[in-house]
C-alpha cells in the first residue's frame, strides 16, 4: 500500500480528475487506512464545493446587455465614420513598404561618417552599430532590420497589453485560425522582407 507522502503526490491528480483507475484504487485504499490524509482530501473537497457553489460577488446591473449593444453600435458607427474620413488608409501599409524599398535603393549611398553610427548622406541616423568599418552587406542588413522594426512598430495591435486575443490558442499555445487562407495572408513586414530578400 502507498504511504502518506505518495498519497499527497497523487491527491492533486485525483482532484484534477486525471488519476488512472489503478492509482485511484491505491489512493482510496490508503485513505481508508489513514484518517489524516482522508481529512486533508475532505478539506480540499469542501473548499472546492464552496468555490463551485457560492453565489457571491457582483452581478450585472439592469440593462447591462442593452449598454453593451449600444456601445457596440457606437463603436461600429465610429469605425464607419473613421473609414469615410480616411479613404486611403488601406493603402498606408503598401505606401510604407514602397517607401522602405526606395530607401533601400538609396542604400549604396550610405556611408560611415563617424565611428559607431551608420549615417545616410541625408544625415538620418539609422541606428548604432559596433564597428567603424562596415562592409556593404552589414550595412544593408542593418538597414533592413531597422526598416522592418520601424514598420513593425507602426502596425496596429502591436501593443502587448492588448487584451484581445486575435485568435484562440491551440494546444501548443500557438494561435490558430479557423480560416485556412489565413496562413497565406502577408503582413506589410513579411511582404517587405520578401521584397528585400529578393
Amino acid at each position: 500500500m502507498i504511504e502518506c507522502r505518495q498519497a499527497n503526490n497523487l491527491i492533486d491528480a485525483y482532484l484534477n480528475e486525471e488519476l488512472s483507475a489503478s492509482w485511484t484504487a491505491e489512493l482510496h485504499a490508503h485513505l481508508i487506512a489513514c484518517p489524516r490524509c482522508s481529512r486533508e482530501l475532505a478539506l480540499l473537497d469542501a473548499c472546492g464545493d464552496v468555490i463551485a457553489t457560492d453565489r457571491i460577488g457582483p452581478v450585472p446591473s439592469d440593462g447591462f446587455a442593452d449598454r453593451v449593444l449600444a456601445a457596440s453600435r457606437e463603436m461600429l458607427a465610429q469605425g464607419a465614420r473613421a473609414r469615410r474620413r480616411r479613404p486611403f488608409s488601406a493603402w498606408a501599409g503598401a505606401g510604407l513598404a514602397a517607401a522602405a524599398v526606395l530607401a533601400l535603393m538609396a542604400l549604396p549611398l550610405a556611408t560611415v561618417e563617424r565611428p559607431g553610427t551608420l549615417i545616410l548622406r541625408e544625415q538620418v541616423s539609422i541606428g548604432e552599430v559596433d564597428s567603424a568599418e562596415l562592409p556593404k552587406e552589414v550595412a544593408q542588413k542593418a538597414m533592413l532590420e531597422y526598416m522592418v522594426e520601424t514598420i513593425r512598430t507602426l502596425q496596429p495591435y502591436a501593443d502587448e497589453s492588448d487584451p484581445t486575443p486575435t485568435l484562440p490558442m491551440s494546444e501548443s499555445g500557438v494561435p490558430e485560425s479557423g480560416d485556412p487562407d489565413a496562413a497565406s495572408i502577408q503582413t506589410p513586414v513579411e511582404e517587405l522582407r520578401q521584397i528585400l530578400e529578393r
Binding site: L44, A46, C47, G48, D54, P58, F64, A65, S72, P163
Partner: protein, 210 residues
C-alpha cells in the same frame, strides 16, 4: 470523483451548437444573437472578474469591455472553441491590465481586500453562523491568491474547466496551470486546517452548506 464542480455543459448554459448559431447571427448583424450571447455569459464573467478585482464599478466596466472586444473581433473567432473560453481570456487579460494600471498608480496590488460585507450577505449565510464563518474563510484564502492562481481556481471549480481548457484561457502550459492549482490548494489547506483541526466534524458544515 468527490467534490462539486461547475459543469461547462450544465443546464442553462448554451450548447456548443447553440453558441455557433448565435455567433453566426451576431456576425450577420443580428442583435438578438449578440444579446443572447451576453445573457448566457454575463453572470459567469461577472463572478470571474469580480473575484479577481474587487471594485464593483470596475467589474462592470471590464465585463462590458470584454464583450465589446469579443464582438468587435468575432470574425477572427474559431468555431472549434467555446465562446466562453475566448471571453474569459479577454476578461482575464483586461483584469491583469487593470491591476497593473492600479499598481502603477497606487504602488500596491489589491489582491486581498476581502469584501466581508459580501461574504456575510444574506445569500452567504447558509446553515449556520459557523458554516458562514468557514465559508468566508475559504473566500479569504481565495482572495489572498495571486490573480493567476485565483483565475485558475475559479475556472477549475466554478466553471468546471479542465487543466487543458484553463491553459487555453490563461495562455500558459498545462503544467503551469497544475502548479497554480496545487499552490492554491495548499494555501486553502494551510488557512483552513488549523481551524478545522480543533474539530473535524465542522468540515461537514462546509459540505452541507455548499
Amino acid at each position: 470523483m468527490s467534490g462539486t464542480r461547475g459543469q461547462a455543459d450544465s443546464p442553462g448554459r448554451l450548447s456548443h451548437a447553440e453558441e455557433r448559431v448565435l455567433i453566426e447571427r451576431a456576425l450577420n448583424g443580428c442583435e438578438e444573437g449578440a444579446r443572447r450571447l451576453i445573457d448566457a455569459h454575463k453572470d459567469r464573467l461577472f463572478a470571474f472578474v469580480g473575484r479577481i478585482i474587487r471594485d464593483h464599478h470596475d467589474v462592470e466596466e471590464i465585463c462590458q469591455e470584454a464583450f465589446l472586444r469579443a464582438f468587435a473581433n468575432l470574425q477572427t473567432f474559431s468555431a472549434e472553441y467555446r465562446f466562453s473560453t475566448w471571453l474569459f481570456t479577454i476578461g482575464y487579460r483586461l483584469c491583469l491590465n487593470h491591476l497593473r494600471r492600479k499598481q502603477a498608480v497606487t504602488g500596491e496590488m489589491e489582491f486581498s481586500t476581502l469584501a466581508s460585507a459580501q461574504a456575510d450577505g444574506p445569500d452567504q449565510v447558509a446553515g449556520s453562523e459557523e458554516a458562514a464563518r468557514l465559508r468566508a474563510m475559504v473566500w479569504e484564502a481565495v482572495d489572498e491568491l495571486n490573480p493567476t492562481q485565483k483565475a485558475t481556481v475559479l475556472l477549475f471549480y466554478r466553471e468546471g474547466r479542465s487543466c487543458q481548457e484553463i491553459s487555453e484561457v490563461l495562455n500558459m502550459p498545462t503544467a503551469t496551470v497544475k502548479s497554480h492549482l496545487h499552490r492554491a490548494r495548499q494555501r486553502l489547506k494551510d488557512k483552513l486546517e488549523p481551524v478545522i483541526a480543533e474539530d473535524w466534524s465542522r468540515l461537514d458544515l462546509l459540505h452541507r452548506s455548499a
